[in-house]
C-alpha cells in the first residue's frame, strides 16, 4: 500500500526576476516501511522537496501544482490546522543541524513533553516516562538525567540522537531526514546511520533520506531518486542504479567518487557547474555538461523512459530502449 504518493509536484518562487521553479514534475510513491533516498547536488531541489511534502514552504515559495497524497489526504491543499495534526505525529522530520532544530533555552525534556502534549491528551508525568523511554531507544546513556539537560550540554552526535528521539516520539509512519549526518564526524555518522536503520526496520517506519552522499544513501535505502536542477532524472532500485546507472549525470556522480578510482589517477569529472535556477538550460537541463548531448537534447525536455527497473529522463536512453524494442 502506498504510504506517500507525490504526483507531478511543482514548486514556484516569486522573485524580482519573475517566477522560478526550483521543483518541476516530481512524482514518486513510497510504500509503508520503505526507505527511499533522494540525491542531488546543492540547488537540485532536494530540500525544497522535503519542505514541500510537509507543505512547510513559506513565502515567496508555494506549491504551484501537483498533489502530495499521504494516507489518502492531499497535504498540498489541506488546511493549516489539519496539517499541524499530521506534522510531527504522523510524519516527522529530522534536519541537518541539530543545534538549530533544538531550542537552546529549553531542556530536552521540556521540548519532548511539549510536542507529546500538543498531539496527545496525557499528563506531564506520563509524557516524561515516554520521553525517557524514547531517549533510551536512541541509546543515550543515563536518559533520566540527560532529559533535564540543555542542548548545549550534549555533543553533536548526542544532539542528533535527541532529534531522532523527538522524531520517533509519536510513532510516525514516515520520517523525512534532510542530510541527517552531514554535520557529523565519520565515526559518529556510522553510529547514527546504523541507529536510524535499526529504528526504521524495527518500527516499520518509512524513510525519505535526503543526502548528497551516495555512499550513505547506498547503505540506508532500497530505492533512490537522482535529482538535477529541480527535476528527477533517474529513479529506481538503489542497487540497480549504483551498479548500472543509465542517466549520464548519475554515471558522472558515481564516477567522480574518489573511492571507485585507482589511487593516483585522474578522477573522471563532470565539466561545468550546476546551473542557477534562473538560467536552467532549455531542453534537458543537463545538456551543456553532458558528453552525449545531441541536437534534440537542447530543444526538447526528455520524458521518462522505463529501462529495467528504473525510469530515466534522457533522450539517449529513450533511443536505446526504442531501438532495442524494434530489434525484438
Amino acid at each position: 500500500m502506498a504510504l506517500l504518493e507525490v504526483r507531478n509536484l511543482e514548486v514556484s518562487f516569486r522573485t524580482r526576476e519573475g517566477i522560478i521553479k526550483p521543483l518541476r514534475d516530481v512524482s514518486f510513491t513510497l510504500n509503508q516501511g520503505e526507505r527511499l533516498g533522494i540525491i542531488g547536488e546543492s540547488g537540485a531541489g532536494k530540500s525544497i522537496l522535503a519542505f514541500a511534502i510537509l507543505n512547510l514552504l513559506s513565502r515567496p515559495g508555494y506549491i504551484s501544482g501537483g498533489q502530495v497524497l499521504f494516507d489518502n489526504q492531499d497535504l498540498a491543499t489541506l488546511s493549516e490546522k489539519r496539517l499541524r495534526s499530521i506534522r510531527g505525529s504522523r510524519v516527522a522530520m529530522i534536519f541537518q543541524d541539530p543545534m538549530t532544530t533544538l531550542n537552546p533555552v529549553m531542556t530536552i525534556g521540556q521540548q519532548m513533553i511539549e510536542s507529546l502534549r500538543a498531539h496527545r491528551k496525557i499528563s506531564r508525568k506520563d509524557a516524561r516516562v515516554i520521553a525517557i523511554q524514547k531517549l533510551k531507544q536512541v541509546q543515550i546513556p543515563s536518559p533520566a538525567t540527560r532529559i533535564d539537560q540543555y542542548p548545549h550540554e550534549l555533543s553533536g552526535g548526542m544532539r542528533q540522537r535527541v532529534t531522532i528521539a523527538i522524531a520517533l516520539l509519536l510513532d510516525p509512519l514516515l520520517i523525512i531526514a534532510d542530510e541527517p549526518t552531514t554535520a557529523l564526524d565519520v565515526t559518529i555518522q556510522a553510529e547514527i546511520i546504523s541507529l536510524l536503520l535499526d529504528l526504521c526496520v524495527s518500527n516499520n517506519v518509512g524513510l525519505v533520506l535526503i543526502t548528497h552522499d551516495l555512499c550513505v544513501l547506498s547503505q540506508m535505502t532500497r530505492r533512490m531518486i537522482v535529482m538535477y536542477a529541480g527535476r528527477i532524472v533517474e529513479q529506481g532500485p538503489t542497487k540497480e542504479i549504483i551498479n548500472d546507472a543509465q542517466h549520464p549525470y548519475t554515471q558522472g556522480l558515481i564516477n567522480a567518487l574518489p573511492q571507485l578510482s585507482i589511487p593516483g589517477t585522474e578522477l573522471k569529472q563532470i565539466p561545468g557547474a550546476v546551473p542557477g535556477l534562473q538560467h536552467v538550460p532549455s531542453g534537458c537541463a543537463f545538456n551543456p555538461r553532458c558528453e552525449f548531448s545531441m541536437d534534440i537534447c537542447t530543444r526538447v525536455e526528455p520524458g521518462f523512459t522505463c529501462s529495467g527497473g528504473c525510469s530515466v529522463a534522457c533522450h539517449m536512453v529513450e533511443e536505446l530502449v526504442n531501438s532495442m524494442g524494434e530489434d525484438l
Binding site: T187, S194, C215
Partner: protein, 367 residues
C-alpha cells in the same frame, strides 16, 4: 631571494602554458632524503582563562590564580618529503587545522620547532619569514571567505606577486597571471570580475591560482574540498594533482574525508585529540591499519555496494582537550586499553612495514 632561479624543465613533464614562456618551476635541488618540512614535538595551547580578574578563584581560604588551557596540539612530530602529498586526517577537534596554521606561521607554537629545508622558522620575525611565505602558500576551506569580495580577480591574484617581486614589470606580471589562470582552467578575460560572480568551484580555482602565483614549492591545503559539491570536488582534486605533477609541488593536505586521502595522499598521518597516532604510506594504511583508532575510523567510512555496514563501534564520544591529558589520548574509548595505557602516553614506533604507530598494545604485541 628576489631572483627567481630559472632551472630547466624536466622533459617528461607537460608544460602547461602555451604563452611561450615556460614556468620553469624548479625541481627541489635538495636530495630527496631530506625532508622539506620538519615538525618536531610541536605543542599548542589555547588559553581559556579569560581576563586577569576572571582567573582568580577563592579556594580553601585563599585566593589563587587559576588557568585553563585547551591542549590543541600535543607533541606532534611530522616530516614532509619533497614532492609528496602528506595528508593529515582526523575528526573535528583533533588539531589538524591548528597544525596547518602553525606550519604556516599563522599561529605561534607554545613549544616545539618547525624546520623548512633544515632552517628553523618558528621563531623568525615577520620580516625574516617573508622569503618563506613566498615558498609556502595556503589554500583555505571556504572560498567564499578567503577571497576579498571587494577585489577583482586580477587584483586578488596580483597583490601577492607584486608584494613578493617588486621588480617584476607589468608585462611580466600580466603574462604570469594569464598563464596561471589558464592552468587552473579559467578564462583570463574574467579578471575584471568580482568573486561573487563565480560559483564555489570556480572560486576555489581562483584561490588555488592565487596560491600558485608566487611560484611556491610547498602548499598547505586546509580542507580545500569540503565546501564543494561532489562533481566539483573531482574537478578541484584533479587540478591539485595536475599542479603537483607540473610544478613539482609538495602538499600538506588537511582533510576529514578518507576517500579523498586514499586517492590523493602519498602518506597519511592520522590524528586524534591533538596527537598523531599513526603515520603510514597511503596503501599500507588502508590495507593494514594498525592503531585501534585508525581501524575504527576506516571501518566507519560508508562504502558503495555495502549492504550490511559493519563498523567498529567506539564507546563514548571524543573528550575535550581541557586539562593536561594523562596516558594515551585514546585510552578512554579503546577496547584494548590496560593500566599502562591509562598512565603513560605511547610514542610513535617504527613497524616492519615502515609505518609509525603510537600504541602500547601494538608495542607489546597484544593487538
Amino acid at each position: 631571494m628576489k631572483d627567481r632561479q630559472e632551472l630547466p624543465v624536466i622533459d617528461d613533464q607537460e608544460v602547461l602554458s602555451n604563452t611561450g614562456q615556460s614556468l620553469g618551476k624548479k625541481i627541489p635541488l635538495v636530495s630527496d632524503t631530506l625532508p622539506l618540512l620538519q615538525v618536531k614535538e610541536l605543542k599548542k595551547n589555547f588559553d581559556l582563562s579569560g581576563d586577569l580578574l576572571d582567573q582568580f578563584r577563592f579556594r580553601g581560604g585563599r585566593i589563587i590564580r587559576h588557568k585553563r588551557y585547551i591542549h590543541a596540539v600535543n607533541d606532534v612530530s611530522l616530516e614532509v618529503m619533497p614532492g609528496e602529498a602528506l595528508c593529515v586526517v582526523g575528526e573535528s577537534g583533533c588539531g589538524k587545522s591548528t597544525v596547518a596554521r602553525l606550519v604556516m606561521g599563522l599561529l605561534r607554537p607554545t613549544r616545539g620547532s618547525i624546520y623548512y629545508r633544515g632552517q628553523r622558522i618558528d621563531k623568525l620575525s615577520e620580516k625574516a619569514l617573508l622569503p618563506y611565505r613566498k615558498k609556502m602558500q595556503m589554500i583555505f576551506q571556504n572560498p567564499y571567505a578567503s577571497l576579498n569580495p571587494r577585489m577583482t580577480i586580477d587584483q586578488a591574484l596580483l597583490e601577492p606577486i607584486r608584494f613578493h617581486n617588486p621588480d617584476m614589470t607589468e608585462g611580466e606580471l600580466r603574462e604570469r597571471k594569464s598563464e596561471v589562470i589558464k592552468s587552473v582552467g579559467m578564462d583570463p578575460s574574467w579578471g575584471n570580475r568580482y568573486p561573487h560572480e563565480f560559483s564555489g568551484g570556480q572560486r576555489q580555482r581562483i584561490s588555488i591560482a592565487r596560491a600558485l602565483m608566487v611560484d611556491p614549492e610547498f602548499i598547505v591545503a586546509d580542507e580545500p574540498l569540503s565546501a564543494l559539491d561532489v562533481s566539483i570536488q573531482a574537478q578541484v582534486l584533479n587540478l591539485l594533482r595536475k599542479a603537483q605533477q607540473q610544478r613539482g609541488l609538495t602538499y600538506l593536505f588537511i582533510t576529514h574525508d578518507l576517500a579523498v586521502v586514499e586517492h590523493f595522499g602519498s602518506r597519511v598521518a592520522v590524528m586524534y585529540l591533538g596527537t598523531v597516532c599513526e603515520v603510514a604510506a597511503t596503501k599500507t594504511l588502508f590495507s593494514t591499519p594498525k592503531h585501534p583508532y585508525t581501524q575504527a575510523l576506516l571501518s566507519s567510512v560508508p562504502r558503495l555496494w555495502d549492504d550490511q555496514p559493519r563498523h567498529i563501534s567506539l564507546p563514548g564520544e571524543v573528550p575535550t582537550q581541557i586539562g593536561q591529558p594523562k596516558g594515551c589520548v585514546f585510552q578512554g574509548r579503546c577496547p584494548h586499553a590496560n593500566d599502562r595505557c591509562r598512565r603513560y602516553s605511547p610514542q610513535l614506533n617504527a613497524q616492519s612495514d615502515g609505518s609509525l604507530v603510537a600504541c602500547h598494545g601494538i608495542e607489546e604485541g597484544r593487538i
